[in-house]
């Protein structure tokens, strides 16, 4: 009898709490980057920040932004996570692609060459087989790096591979060098040992962006705002608990503590929408247009969907007016 009364009381209290909470529970499918720079998405999910804002997030991990955006177009997820290069490149053809916010700014690229393949400095790259994941920030990094050496893609033999393949083929010697992001850089470096030569330390700046389709964003504005709120809660938690956040990353992605300590200053987990994202996309799009014989580059200001972030955190919106 007593147990029944207690159970009834708990049910009443739970119901009261549930119904007193503002708004309904929304559901959203998130295609997250399966790696350290996508940490905010996983923390928000695993630490219950999405639950706090009454958002049910069905999260799915992808090894690259391009894969996540493809999945979004395939209808597997509602929101994808990708670097600005991915968005910039896809925006040439996908006019409904919209940027919600950046969730991480990072410098995590690395350029590793094999000494036994005659690469000891950046002067030895000409004619070498260089692996890279196409349609990624690494691709742009490669172009910039080569330009700094006075080279273009035509001066080398570019090999388009997935990050996992890059690691395998660089270690096996099927390619002479590779440009990719962490933790794959460290994996190659560790495997090659003294045979590895690091030609680039951190690469150019990149931003991991939340993107969605225009039609979905218009229809799911409340869910999108809850998604942003949950991510902002995660950001606040990371700022307040950096050591716990590091520990979470080590455990979540099976990383090395030394690696995290090295990477941590090069990844800034924050929900923002700064103006330089547009400028960065403009920069890469000029190269993309030229490389792909496209005369018109997209107006990336139109890809910005700032209303939901402005509604949640106005100060985070740094883009200028359209």
């Amino acid at each position: 009898m007593l147990i029944a009364i207690l159970a009834l009381g708990a049910a009443v209290v739970g119901a009261a709490v549930y119904f007193l909470m503002p708004g309904p529970v929304h559901t959203i499918r998130l295609g997250a980057y399966e790696g350290d720079v996508g940490a905010l998405e996983w923390i928000a999910k695993d630490k219950g920040f999405f639950d706090q804002v009454r958002l049910n997030v069905e999260i799915k991990g992808y090894p690259s932004g391009d894969a996540a955006v493809k999945a979004m177009h395939a209808g597997e997820v509602d929101i994808a996570t990708a670097a600005e290069l991915v968005v910039a490149k896809r925006s040439f053809d996908e006019k409904n692609l919209r940027i919600l916010a950046g969730i991480c700014r990072y410098w995590n690229k690395g350029f590793i060459g094999r000494k036994d393949h005659g690469i000891t400095t950046h002067f030895d790259l000409k004619g070498k087989k260089i692996a890279f994941p196409a349609t990624s920030s690494a691709e742009h990094n490669l172009v910039v790096f080569l330009a700094l050496q006075g080279l273009t893609l035509e001066d080398v033999v570019p090999v388009n591979l997935t990050p996992k393949q890059i690691v395998e083929k660089t270690i096996s010697g099927e390619v002479d060098a590779a440009i990719v992001w962490e933790p794959h850089v460290s994996a190659i470096e560790d495997a090659l040992g003294d045979n590895a030569v690091k030609l680039m330390e951190r690469g150019t700046e990149a931003n991991l962006l939340l993107v969605g389709r225009q039609e979905h964003l218009d229809a799911q504005s409340q869910a999108i705002q809850k998604l942003l709120k949950g991510l902002i809660l995660a950001e606040d938690w990371v700022r307040a608990n950096p050591e716990q956040a590091k520990a979470y990353l080590i455990k979540r992605f099976a990383l090395d503590a030394i690696y995290i300590d090295k990477l941590w200053p090069r990844m800034q987990l924050a929900v923002t929408l700064p103006q330089e994202i547009l400028e960065a996309m403009d920069s890469v799009s000029r190269w993309i247009a030229k490389a792909n014989n496209r005369e018109q580059i997209p107006n990336y200001a139109e890809t910005i969907h700032a209303s939901d972030l402005r509604a949640v955190k106005p100060a985070a919106v740094g883009v200028f007016t359209k």
Partner: protein
């Protein structure tokens, strides 16, 4: 806690409070200045960065050597600023600075490569485009970092301003409240510790001024408590003094009124201010009449001048008081003698106030003195007569004794010649008769000599002085040496005998007579023992000369001191019977006394009381 300690504590608290408030304000200002300087530092970095961006854009657009040169200088300056320790240590920069450093460091290789690529005609346009594009991208990213930095600086400034404002408000609120509480506490303390007790004390004083019985509240242990306690003690002493003064005044009034002499208080001009009944009685006037008049009215005219002169001398300060005899005229016209004793009372500035005068009626005394004078004069005349008679008597005694002894010697001589002429044939009866006649003549001679001695006692007034009784007794023993030896007598004297005032010869005769009598009248069954003791009394020496002789019947105690009185037959003990009379006369002439106590058959004690 006493008031001094309390107020020292209050002042200390006030000083600490003020010091803390000043320190707090100082700290607040210091923090504000620190925060402001931080904003200036960040602003400076942002401004220098914006210059670098501007130069980057110039290089991108035109590639002028001037722009490249300025860019390089600005790059170095920017590098210097962002490597400054104060800048690096700024805790709020964090990620912003991380991005800024990376973006800053990426600029230089891009710009250098772009510059060299532009100058290299062989370089492909694609490379130049990529480099220019990336340089522009990095520059805009650096610009974003600078905006963030500026935001941090602005936020920092705003935060500093708000913090300063909050600190100021907090400090003013806190210390305002504390000072208010302190002020209230001081006021309450001041009121409780000083104002209220002083108010109570003031009310007590007013009540006392209004003639009410009141006492200061005395429940505190601080200085005011001590003041109240002292005040109450003073009140007690004042009350006690007032009672004493009233009692003294009453006593003085009683003494003044009931004195057996006339008493008065007289102004410096001679008016009676106060008189007592006795003075009224002496002068025969009622008090009211005396109090409206001046003493001069009552002075006998022939004494008035003297009275005034005496009074003026006192007023002039020649003396403080004076006493003289004068004469007043009573209301009934009778002249009376009075002894005036008066003293001048002065105030604290030595100004004369009034005389306190005692008037003694000496009319009777003056009459008595006159009578005594007359008696003295008569006594002096009688003394002169007595001295003349004594001189005549002495002369007579001397002449008589001298002249009487001459016929006696003649009678004795001629009877001796007759006895010799008659020779052995003379009848026995005749011879006996002749012997009687000669013996009678000799005794007559002895009596005359004794009488002469008796008459001469006290005649040697010039030989009086301090005499050692030791010496006197030594001489006596020497004189009586033969008699002492013959009678196997023992004379016991004290170790020390005092000095007495008298004539040495008389004292030798006194003790020689007494010791000689003790030996002469010794008991036939025992050798004489004569013991002298001496005891000091208040004003005299009491000497006792005891013997173990035959003793004296008590009915003869007085008779033995009379002249020519004998208690035993002259046949049994020779002598004239004048010895003890001489002793008595010597002692009395010295102002002393002599008496005896005796037990017949056991002994006699003669007591001599001699003045010291």
């Amino acid at each position: 806690m006493d008031i001094k300690t309390g107020f020292r504590a209050v002042l200390t608290v006030g000083a600490v409070l003020t010091g803390t408030a000043l320190l707090s304000v100082g700290y607040s200002q210091y923090a504000f200045v620190e925060d402001t300087s931080r904003k200036e530092r960040l602003d400076h970095v942002a401004n220098q960065g914006m210059r670098l961006i501007q130069l980057t854009q110039e290089v991108l657009l035109y590639g002028e050597p001037r722009a490249i040169s300025q860019w390089q200088s600005q790059y170095v300056e920017m590098g210097r600023l962002i490597s400054d320790q104060a800048y690096i240590a700024d805790p709020d920069l964090g990620e912003i600075n991380g991005a800024l450093l990376i973006r800053y460091s990426d600029l230089s290789p891009l710009l250098e490569k772009l510059t060299s690529a532009r100058q290299d005609s062989r370089q492909s346009a694609d490379v130049i485009d990529v480099l220019a594009s990336q340089l522009f991208q990095d520059a805009t990213q650096l610009q974003a970092s600078l905006r963030d930095l500026k935001d941090v600086a602005d936020e920092s400034h705003e935060r500093a301003y708000k913090a300063s404002k909050q600190r100021q408000i907090a400090i003013f609120s806190l210390f305002g409240t504390l000072f208010l509480m302190y002020g209230l506490a001081v006021m309450m303390l001041f009121r409780g510790v000083i104002l209220k007790p002083l108010g109570d004390l003031e009310r007590t004083i007013h009540a006392i001024r209004d003639g009410k019985q009141a006492r200061a509240p005395n429940q505190r242990e601080d200085e005011i408590g001590v003041i109240c306690q002292t005040f109450n003690q003073l009140l007690d002493e004042h009350d006690h003094s007032q009672r004493e003064i009233r009692a003294m005044a009453e006593r003085f009034r009683n003494i003044f009124e009931q004195a057996a002499v006339g008493m008065s208080i007289v102004s410096t001009t001679g008016d009676w201010l106060e008189v007592n009944e006795c003075l009224c009685a002496i002068l025969g006037y009622p008090r009211e009449e005396l109090l409206s008049t001046n003493y001069r009215r009552y002075s006998a005219p022939e004494f008035l001048e003297t009275d005034i002169k005496r009074v003026k001398a006192i007023l002039a300060g020649e003396r403080q008081h004076d006493a003289w005899e004068t004469c007043y005229i009573r209301k009934d016209g009778q002249a009376i003698w009075a002894r005036i004793t008066t003293a001048l009372t002065r105030d604290s500035d030595d100004r004369p106030l009034y005389f306190v005068t005692v008037t003694e009626d000496i009319t009777q005394r003056m009459a008595d003195e006159a009578r005594i004078g007359e008696i003295n004069r008569q006594l002096e005349e009688q003394a002169r007569d007595l001295r003349r008679i004594n001189a005549d008597l002495e002369s007579f005694a001397w002449v008589a004794s001298h002249d009487l002894r001459e016929p006696l010697r003649m009678i004795s001589s001629y009877i001796g010649l007759i006895n010799k002429r008659l020779g052995p044939e003379i009848e026995e009866d005749m011879r006996t008769y002749i012997g009687y006649a000669i013996g009678g003549a000799k005794r007559m001679d002895s009596l005359i000599l004794s009488l002469l001695d008796y008459s001469r006692i006290g005649q040697d007034a010039g030989l009086h002085g301090s005499v050692s009784l030791n010496d006197v007794l030594q001489e006596c023993q020497l004189n009586l040496k033969m008699a002492i030896q013959e009678a196997h007598a023992t004379v016991v004297l004290p170790d020390r005998l005092p000095f007495v005032t008298g004539a040495r010869g008389d004292l030798v005769r006194l003790f020689q007579n007494l010791i000689g009598n003790a030996i002469k009248f010794h008991h036939p069954d025992r050798p004489p023992v004569v013991t002298l003791t001496c005891e000091e009394k208040k004003d005299e020496w009491l000497l006792c000369l005891s013997d173990n002789g035959i003793g004296i019947e008590s009915q003869y105690y007085d008779k033995v001191f009379r002249i020519f009185q004998r208690l035993v037959s002259k046949d049994e003990y020779e002598g004239t019977g004048i010895g003890l009379a001489i002793c008595k006369k010597i002692v009395e002439h010295m102002g002393g006394r002599i008496w005896l106590d005796s037990t017949p058959g056991e002994g006699t004690s003669f007591y001599l009381a001699l003045a010291k």
